[in-house]
C-alpha cells in the first residue's frame, strides 16, 4: 500500500481536481487496504489448512486463530496503509497541473 500510494500521488491529485473529496479518497484507500489484507488472511487460512496434514510435526490451530486472523490483518493493514491514507487526504489538487 505504501509503494502503491507513492506511485499514485498524482492520481490522488487528479481525482481531487475532478471533484473527489478527501473523505471519499480516504474511504477508497482504506477499503482497498481492507480488501487486500482480508484476501491475504483468506490465503493464509487456506495454505495453513493444506499444510497442516502434510507436516510431520503436529500442528494445532485453534478456531479462535481463524477468527482473530482477519481482524488482526485488517487492523495491521490499515496501520500499514497510514502513509497511503495520509497521501490521499493531503494530495494538492493544484499539483495535477504540473507538467511531467
Amino acid at each position: 500500500m505504501y509503494v502503491s500510494a507513492l506511485q499514485r500521488a498524482r492520481d490522488f491529485a487528479v481525482l481531487k481536481a475532478l471533484g473527489s473529496s478527501s473523505t471519499l479518497l480516504f474511504c477508497g484507500v482504506a477499503f482497498q487496504a481492507v480488501v487486500v489484507t482480508l484476501a491475504a488472511a483468506a490465503l493464509a487460512v487456506g495454505v495453513a489448512r493444506i499444510l497442516k496434514p502434510v507436516l510431520t510435526l503436529p500442528v494445532a490451530i485453534p478456531m479462535s486463530a481463524y477468527l482473530l486472523l482477519p481482524v488482526t490483518s485488517v487492523v495491521m493493514g490499515l496501520l500499514a496503509s497510514g502513509v497511503a491514507l495520509s497521501r490521499a487526504v493531503s494530495a494538492d489538487p493544484a499539483s495535477a497541473f504540473a507538467a511531467i
Binding site: R10, V14, K16, A17, L18, G19, L24, A99
Partner: protein
C-alpha cells in the same frame, strides 16, 4: 447565461526563501459561449490563474465569481461540488489514470459523483463517441497517442456537462495534426451554456479566441512593487526579508 468575473486576483507563496507572486492583480471577465485564451510566456502565472478559477488553489487576494458563486469563498464540500459539477479541467499532460481504460477514465468522475454503474458506462460511451474514440474505449492510456489521450481527457472533463472548461496548455504535447483536432473540439465546446478558458502560448489558439487575456508578469509585477523589492526574474518579486509590504506577510500577520 454564465458569467465569470476575476477581480484583482493575486497569488503569492514562499519558495526557496523567496516570495513568489505568479499572479499579480489580474482582472478580467468572460461571458457564456466565449472561447478565451489566457496568453503569456512560460512562468507568467497562466496555470496558477486557471488553478484559482477551477478552485484548485486559493488566491492570496482578490475575488473570482462564477454566476452567483463566489469561488474564492468556497471551502470543504462546496468546493468539491464546484470542481465536480461546474468546472471541467483539461491538463497539459492529459493526467489519465494509467491503470484504467479510456472508458474507465471517463467513468471515474461519474463514480465519484455517485452515478450508478450502468448509467455511468452509458454516459462514458456517449462521450467517447463524441470525441471520436468509441472504438478505443477499452484501450489503456499507454496504448493511445497523445492526441487520443487528450480527447479522452476532454471526454472526462465533460462528464457533468460543466458550464466552464479550463484547459492548461492542452496542445503542448501534441503534434501539428493532433493540435488541430483538439482545438476544433475545444472551440466547438464554447457554445451557449458553456465557456472555455485555454492557457496557451500557441498562436493557433489565440486566432480562434473571442477574447485574449494576456499576462505580462515583469511589467505588472515590478511596476507595482514598493522600494526595496528587487524583481529577480519573471516570477520572483522580492526576497522574504525585503518584502515587508507583501500580501502574504499581511495575511500571515492577521
Amino acid at each position: 447565461m454564465s458569467q465569470l468575473a476575476v477581480s484583482d486576483l493575486t497569488v503569492e507563496f514562499r519558495s526557496g526563501g523567496y516570495i513568489v507572486r505568479p499572479v499579480n492583480q489580474v482582472s478580467f471577465a468572460a461571458s457564456d459561449g466565449e472561447f478565451v485564451a489566457v496568453l503569456g510566456p512560460s512562468g507568467c502565472g497562466k496555470t496558477t490563474l486557471l488553478s484559482c478559477i477551477a478552485a484548485l488553489m486559493t488566491p492570496t487576494a482578490g475575488c473570482i465569481r462564477f454566476d452567483a458563486t463566489e469561488v474564492t469563498a468556497l471551502a470543504g464540500r462546496a468546493r468539491a461540488q464546484y470542481r465536480r459539477h461546474t468546472v471541467g479541467v483539461v491538463f497539459q499532460a492529459f493526467n489519465l489514470i494509467p491503470s484504467l481504460t479510456a472508458n474507465g477514465n471517463v467513468v471515474a468522475p461519474l463514480h465519484l459523483a455517485g452515478v450508478p454503474r450502468r448509467a455511468a458506462a452509458q454516459r462514458a460511451s456517449e462521450l467517447l463517441e463524441r470525441v471520436g474514440l468509441a472504438d478505443r474505449a477499452r484501450h489503456r492510456p499507454g496504448q493511445l497517442s497523445g492526441g487520443q489521450q487528450q480527447r479522452v481527457a476532454l471526454a472526462r472533463a465533460l462528464v457533468h456537462e460543466p458550464p466552464l472548461i479550463v484547459a492548461d496548455e492542452p496542445t503542448a504535447y501534441l503534434d501539428h495534426t493532433q493540435v488541430e483536432e483538439i482545438l476544433q473540439l475545444l472551440h466547438g465546446l464554447a457554445a451557449p451554456g458553456r465557456m472555455v478558458l485555454v492557457a496557451t502560448h500557441d498562436d493557433r489558439v489565440t486566432r480562434l479566441a473571442d477574447q485574449v487575456v494576456e499576462l505580462v508578469p515583469r511589467r505588472t509585477a515590478s511596476g507595482r512593487e514598493p522600494e526595496g523589492v528587487v524583481p529577480a526574474d519573471d516570477l520572483v518579486v522580492g526576497r522574504r526579508d525585503m518584502a515587508r509590504s507583501s500580501l502574504l506577510k499581511e495575511k500571515t500577520r492577521l
